[in-house]
C-alpha cells in the first residue's frame, strides 16, 4: 500500500483546526491502540509537534507504519464526528505528519526490572506490544524470534522502502528496553521453563495452499515467500505475466509489489468485489496501477511446461447460500475452465498457525489457539495473542492486543 500524502506544516495546521475536540471522542475508541486522537491533534494546533510524537509513540511502537498504512477509513476516521458536519478529519495524514516531522526518539531509561521473568515468543506487533507493556510495569522480558530481525510481518513483508526505513527507526527507539534472542525458534513450552509467564505471538507461519494440481511447479509460490523475496531482491520478479490468487490485504500487497516491479497483474478472486477482505483503498490503488480483476473465479489447475508454470486454468463460480461470514459461498459453475497465461502465480489465500508449534496448547478447528478474554490458554501462565488467535489482522490491532494481554499477564504475575 502506498503511503498517504505528507502534509506540509500549513496543511497540517489547517486540517488540525478542523478537529472538533470532541468529548469522549469516538475516534479514540475506534483506534485499536486507543491513540488519544484529539490530544495529539490539539498539540499540532499549538505547534507542539514533539509532544504529539511522544503521545503517538507511547501508544504504538509501530507508529510510523500506522501513519502510512493504517486503514483509517475502517477505523478512526469512519467514526469522526466532523463527518456528520462535512468531511471527517484526515487523522492518518496528521498522524503521518507528526511521525515524519519528528525523528524517532529513543525511549527513556527503562524501569528497573522486578524478579518475575516473562518470555515472549515472536517479535512481531503483538509480541512487541506485550513486551513493551510488561517492561513498563517493571518485569524482566525476553523476546525470542526465529528470524534474524525483529518486527515480524511489517518488517518482512510490507515492502516499500519508505515504510521500511521508518519502521527500523521506530524499532530502534525502544530496542534498548528489551532483551532479544533472534534466530531462535521456540516450539515447545519446556524450552521456556525458567520463565514465570509466557506470551506466544507466533503469528501465521503456514501459508494456505489451494491443494490443486500444478501447485509445485516453478513459478508458483505463496504471497509470503514472494513478498520476502522481493524485499530482499533475491532474485526479484521472475515472471512478466503474474496471476495473484486471493482478495485479502496480502493479495493486494503482492499485486502492488508485482505491479511496481513492472509486471502485468491479474487478480483472481473466488467471490465478488464487495466480499473482498482487502480495504477499499488498497483495491482502488491496485486497480489504478493497472491490475485486471477476475471475480467469481478460482484456479482448478496450474499448467506447466518443463516444470515451469505457463498458465492457470480458472473455473467460474456461482453464488451459493450464505456462509458463516455472511457472504455467499462460491460454488463451481458448469462452464469449462478458462486458460489464463501466467508465468508467475502468487497464492494469497490466507495463512494458518504452524501445526507443530506448542502442542501443549489447545487449538480450534481452524488451527488457531483457543484463549479466554484475557488471552490465557489452557496452560496456566501461558498466554497467546495476535494473528495466531484471530487470523490475519492489522498491525495496530495486534500491537494493541499484545499490550492489553501484557496488562493481564502483569496482573497474573502479581497474584502468583
Amino acid at each position: 500500500m502506498s503511503p498517504v500524502p505528507l502534509f506540509t506544516h500549513t496543511q497540517a495546521l489547517a486540517e488540525a483546526c478542523r478537529c472538533l475536540q470532541c468529548f469522549d471522542a469516538p475516534c479514540i475508541a475506534a483506534c485499536p491502540a486507543n491513540v488519544h486522537v484529539p490530544r495529539f491533534i490539539r498539540m499540532i494546533r499549538s505547534t507542539n509537534v514533539a509532544s504529539a510524537a511522544e503521545e503517538l509513540r507511547s501508544a504504538n511502537a509501530f507508529v510510523s507504519v500506522c501513519g502510512a498504512v493504517c486503514p483509517e477509513d475502517v477505523l478512526c476516521r469512519r467514526k469522526c464526528s466532523r463527518g456528520r458536519l462535512d468531511i471527517p478529519v484526515d487523522i492518518r495524514a496528521l498522524h503521518r505528519f507528526v511521525t515524519a516531522s519528528v525523528p524517532a526518539k529513543v525511549f527513556p531509561e527503562r524501569p528497573k526490572p522486578q524478579n518475575s521473568r516473562v518470555a515472549v515468543v515472536g517479535a512481531g506487533p503483538a509480541g512487541l506490544g506485550c513486551a513493551l507493556a510488561l517492561t513498563r510495569f517493571g518485569f524482566d522480558v525476553t523476546i525470542f524470534e526465529k528470524e534474524s530481525g525483529i518486527g515480524g510481518i511489517p518488517s518482512m513483508e510490507i515492502a516499500t522502502a519508505r515504510i521500511e526505513r521508518t519502521l527500523q527507526e521506530d524499532l530502534h527507539a525502544f530496542v534498548e528496553w528489551l532483551k532479544f534472542v533472534t534466530s531462535k525458534p521456540i516450539r515447545h513450552l519446556p524450552d521456556l521453563q525458567r520463565f514465570d509467564a509466557v506470551f506466544v505471538a507466533v503469528g501465521l507461519g503456514k501459508a494456505m495452499r489451494l491443494r490443486i494440481e500444478g501447485e509445485e511447479l516453478t513459478g508458483v509460490e505463496s504471497a509470503s515467500t514472494f513478498l520476502r523475496r522481493m524485499r530482499e531482491k533475491s532474485p526479484g520478479l521472475t515472471g512478466r505475466r503474474v496471476v495473484v490468487v486471493g482478495g485479502g490485504n496480502t493479495a493486494m500487497d503482492a499485486a502492488l509489489v508485482a505491479l511496481d516491479a513492472g509486471a502485468g497483474v491479474t487478480v483472481v478472486y473466488r467471490r465478488r468485489q464487495l466480499d473482498m477482505p482487502a480495504w477499499p483503498e488498497e483495491v482502488r490503488e491496485v486497480v489504478t496501477k493497472g491490475a485486471v480483476f477476475r471475480f467469481l473465479e478460482t484456479p482448478v489447475r496450474f499448467i506447466g511446461k518443463s516444470g515451469q508454470a505457463i498458465a492457470a486454468l480458472v473455473q467460474r463460480q456461482e453464488l451459493g447460500p450464505l456462509d458463516a461470514s455472511g457472504r455467499p459461498t462460491p460454488i463451481p459453475a458448469d462452464d469449462p475452465p478458462v486458460r489464463l497465461p501466467a508465468d508467475h502465480i502468487i497464492i494469497a489465500v490466507g495463512a494458518g498457525v504452524e501445526t507443530a508449534l506448542f502442542p501443549e496448547l489447545a487449538r480450534d478447528v481452524s488451527g488457531h489457539f483457543v484463549v479466554n478474554e484475557k488471552g490465557a490458554t489452557n496452560v496456566p501462565g501461558v498466554f497467546v495473542g495476535g494473528d495466531a488467535v484471530h487470523g490475519e489482522g492489522t498491525i495496530v490491532t495486534a500491537f494493541a492486543e499484545g499490550r492489553r494481554i501484557g496488562e493481564h499477564i502483569a496482573e497474573f504475575l502479581r497474584r502468583t
Partner: protein, 414 residues
C-alpha cells in the same frame, strides 16, 4: 513598468442593480458609506485612484505633516496575529505618518478632486505646534479638501503632551489642539482621530465636541505587543534585536471598535467615522448601527485588495432590502436604543436547547458545561445526543457558543 491587473467584476458588472447606498456625512453626500482610511492604501496617488475607481466613496490621504518633519521609519512594519490554521485575524504595524509633506498632499487633493469630484477627498494631518496644526488645516481647506482628519492617536508618535503619550489620551490637550485646528479649517469639517486606549472615551469625545469639531474617527488601532519570539526572547517585530509596541488592527479588534463608537455616540452628538476591525458589510453595518455615519477600512483592504468593495456594497444593499430600511442613513444608531447599562437590563431566564436533528454528538457542549459551566448537560454516550438537565441549566449560554454546528444549541426564553 508595473502592470495593473483589473478585477473581473470590474468588467462584468452584476445584472442586479444595487440599492441607493448614499449617505450624507458632515454635509458631504457620499455615494456609499465606505471610505479608505489614512494608511498605505491612500499614500500613493495611483493606488488611491484605483480604489476610488473601483467604487470606494472616498479616501483619507495618509497623515501628512509640515515640510521638514522627519519620518524615521524602521522595518518590517507589519506583524500578524494568526490563529491555529495560520489565519490572519489581526495585524500590528509600526508604521508612521506619510513621508509626503503637505505640499505634495495639497497637489494630490487638487488632482483627486478634479478627477473624482463626487468622491470624498479627505486628508489626515499631524502637527507639532499650534502654528503647524493651523497651517496644515488652512492649507488643506484652501486646496479644497472635503474633510480634515487629525491624527491625535498615532501610537508611535510622541507629539502629545509628554513623550510616549498620545494627544488623545488627555482630554485637555485634545480640546486645546482640536480648537486650533477647527479655527483654521473654518467651514471644512474636522474629525479628530482618537485612541481607544483611555480610561473613559466619553471624556475625550466631549472634549472634541467642546472644541467645536465636527466629529471623531473611532476607534483606530489598539496599542499592543504582537508577540514574543521564544527562541530569542525578542518581542515581535524583531528590529535588530529590539522591539516596540504596534498598532493592532483587523477583525480581532472589531468588538473594541463597537464599544468605543457606542460610548461616543451615547456621550456626544458628534459625527462618527467608524474604523478598526471592519472587514465586511456585516461589520460595517454593525459599527453604523451603534452610531457611525460612515466607516473607514484599512487592514481588510491591505489584505484582500480594493475588490472587497463589491461585497460591502452588495451586502449592504441586501441588508436594506431585508430590513426594510429606506436608506443607509436609517441604519445609523439603530442599535443604540437597545444598549443599556447592565443594571438597567430586564431580568430574564433562558435555558439551553439542543437540536437533536442537527447535533453531531461531538459532546463539546457537555465538556464545556462540565468544566466551565454548571454541570447541566448529561453525557449519554458517543452515539447519543447529550441532554440538558433543565433543573441545573442556569442559561449561561456557553454551550451555544462552543457548539460547532450553526444554530444547533439555542437559548430558549423561559
Amino acid at each position: 513598468m508595473n502592470t495593473i491587473v483589473r478585477e473581473s467584476f470590474d468588467r462584468y458588472p452584476s445584472v442586479y442593480p444595487l440599492r441607493d447606498l448614499s449617505i450624507a456625512f458632515c454635509g458631504f453626500e457620499l455615494e456609499n458609506p465606505f471610505i479608505l482610511s489614512a494608511a498605505p492604501s491612500t499614500d500613493e496617488l495611483d493606488i488611491v485612484r484605483r480604489g476610488l475607481e473601483m467604487g470606494w466613496a472616498g479616501a483619507v490621504l495618509k497623515t501628512t505633516s509640515m515640510p521638514g518633519t522627519g519620518v524615521s521609519l524602521t522595518y518590517p512594519l507589519m506583524t500578524g496575529w494568526r490563529v491555529g490554521d495560520h489565519r490572519l485575524l489581526g495585524m500590528g504595524n509600526i508604521d508612521l505618518i506619510s513621508i509626503h509633506h503637505i505640499d505634495e498632499i495639497v497637489a494630490r487633493v487638487k488632482t483627486l478632486k478634479k478627477e473624482f469630484p463626487r468622491k470624498l477627498i479627505a486628508a489626515s494631518i499631524m502637527g507639532q505646534s499650534k502654528q503647524a496644526w493651523q497651517t496644515l488645516a488652512a492649507t488643506l481647506r484652501k486646496a479644497g479638501a472635503d474633510l480634515i482628519e487629525c491624527s491625535f492617536s498615532c501610537p508611535q508618535g510622541s507629539m502629545g503632551e509628554e513623550p510616549g503619550k498620545m494627544l488623545a489620551q488627555s482630554a485637555e490637550a485634545t480640546e486645546r489642539v482640536a480648537r486650533w485646528v477647527k479655527e483654521a479649517a473654518d467651514t471644512t469639517p474636522v474629525l479628530i482621530k482618537i485612541t481607544p486606549l483611555v480610561t473613559d472615551i466619553s471624556d475625550i469625545a466631549r472634549a472634541v465636541e467642546r472644541a467645536g469639531c465636527d466629529g471623531v474617527t473611532a476607534a483606530n488601532s489598539f496599542p499592543s505587543l504582537m508577540g514574543v519570539n521564544l527562541q530569542t526572547f525578542v518581542p515581535e517585530p524583531n528590529i535588530g534585536g529590539y522591539s516596540t509596541f504596534s498598532g493592532y488592527t483587523g477583525s480581532a479588534i472589531k468588538p473594541l471598535t463597537l464599544y468605543t463608537v457606542a460610548r461616543i455616540a451615547h456621550a456626544t452628538h458628534l459625527s462618527i467615522s467608524g474604523n478598526g476591525g471592519i472587514s465586511n458589510w456585516q461589520d460595517a453595518a454593525e459599527v453604523m448601527a451603534v452610531g457611525a455615519g460612515c466607516v473607514q477600512l484599512c487592514t481588510a483592504v491591505m489584505h484582500y485588495g480594493f475588490q472587497i468593495i463589491d461585497d460591502l456594497t452588495s451586502g449592504l444593499s441586501h441588508l436594506l432590502d431585508e430590513t426594510g430600511l429606506a436608506n443607509v442613513g436609517e441604519l445609523v444608531g439603530r442599535a443604540l436604543p437597545h444598549l443599556r447599562d447592565h443594571d438597567s437590563l430586564p431580568r430574564q431566564k433562558v435555558r439551553s436547547h439542543i437540536n437533536e436533528q442537527t447535533c453531531i454528538r461531538c459532546n463539546v457542549c457537555y465538556l464545556a458545561c462540565r468544566d466551565g459551566g454548571h454541570m447541566a448537560i448529561e453525557y449519554r454516550g458517543q452515539e447519543q445526543v447529550p441532554r440538558v438537565l433543565e433543573e441545573k441549566c442556569v442559561g449561561c449560554g456557553l454551550c451555544a457558543q462552543v457548539c460547532p454546528v450553526m444554530d444547533c444549541v439555542t437559548m430558549e426564553l423561559l
